[in-house]
Subunit: 146 residues, 2 copies
Amino acid sequence: MNAIEILKQHNIKKTPARLSMINAMKGCTSPMSENEMKTQMGELYDRITFYRNVQSLSEVGIIHKIVADNTTVKYALNSCEHGHNHTAEHAHFFCKTCRAVICMNQIKIQSYQLPEGFQFSDCDVIIKGLCKKCNVMPELQLEPQL
Amino acid sequence: MNAIEILKQHNIKKTPARLSMINAMKGCTSPMSENEMKTQMGELYDRITFYRNVQSLSEVGIIHKIVADNTTVKYALNSCEHGHNHTAEHAHFFCKTCRAVICMNQIKIQSYQLPEGFQFSDCDVIIKGLCKKCNVMPELQLEPQL
DNA sequence: AGTACATTTGCAACATTGTTACATTTGCAA
DNA sequence: TTGCAAATGTAACAATGTTGCAAATGTACT
């Protein structure tokens, strides 16, 4: 499904900034930082508009925001070509060295039993450590993608 | 165990700022924001020193930093009077309304099987929703503690 | 107690990230 | 084509986090 269809399907206006955001994410296999998005979006990137669209696209469920760390936020399409869904039902891995965020599709998020009176909304699981590249071959470490 | 003993036990220098931080956290049942800490610490609070001590106290394992949200970071003593340990082995609840972070001591963090080559370090589980107060009696909502 | 030295502190300056107000433009439906 | 709500972009601001450096302080050793 292309960007235009995605917006239409969610009943949200088609604007160049939104199309650009969605297309940037479509071209990437793992969650992207604001800076990576900015690079992809080029002229169509405006910081304030970006933040507002992160808000609106999240609200309708088109994208998902992943907070790996208080200084590391990444974004991903909810239905990307890999057929998986980012809406919080799988865990994310965060590499402490290269700061990459990787979807752990095979690690499902369990349902937690909250105390009486609490209302569940959603759950984030962030597993931290070293990714394959940084662990096995530290000399080939990727530059952090900030 | 008092603040002085805690520092000594971890082989880290005893300074007024650190004692003040530890004592601030000792007096609180749930993880505190920087602002709450600041209030408790009074004169002894300095922003830069605070950030540096968050770093050093975390490194040796005296405190634990909980990132509920990219704009909500809280801090807790690893061994508080409740006898529980904050070093990432239990989940935390984050109330979307009052922004409180509550330790879910009864919800243990499972051990996750990472793909070949990955090295595990630690894991954060943040469960979001409405806390008891905000869910049951929205009219009595606590002011957000920022 | 006094000294030596590494650690810690606090200031200044800066970088990054996130938010609000408001006037203008744009998307879309009638 | 027109009307209007929604979205955009500028400016201004607020909050959060970091670095360099000189001065102060904690602690181990005599």
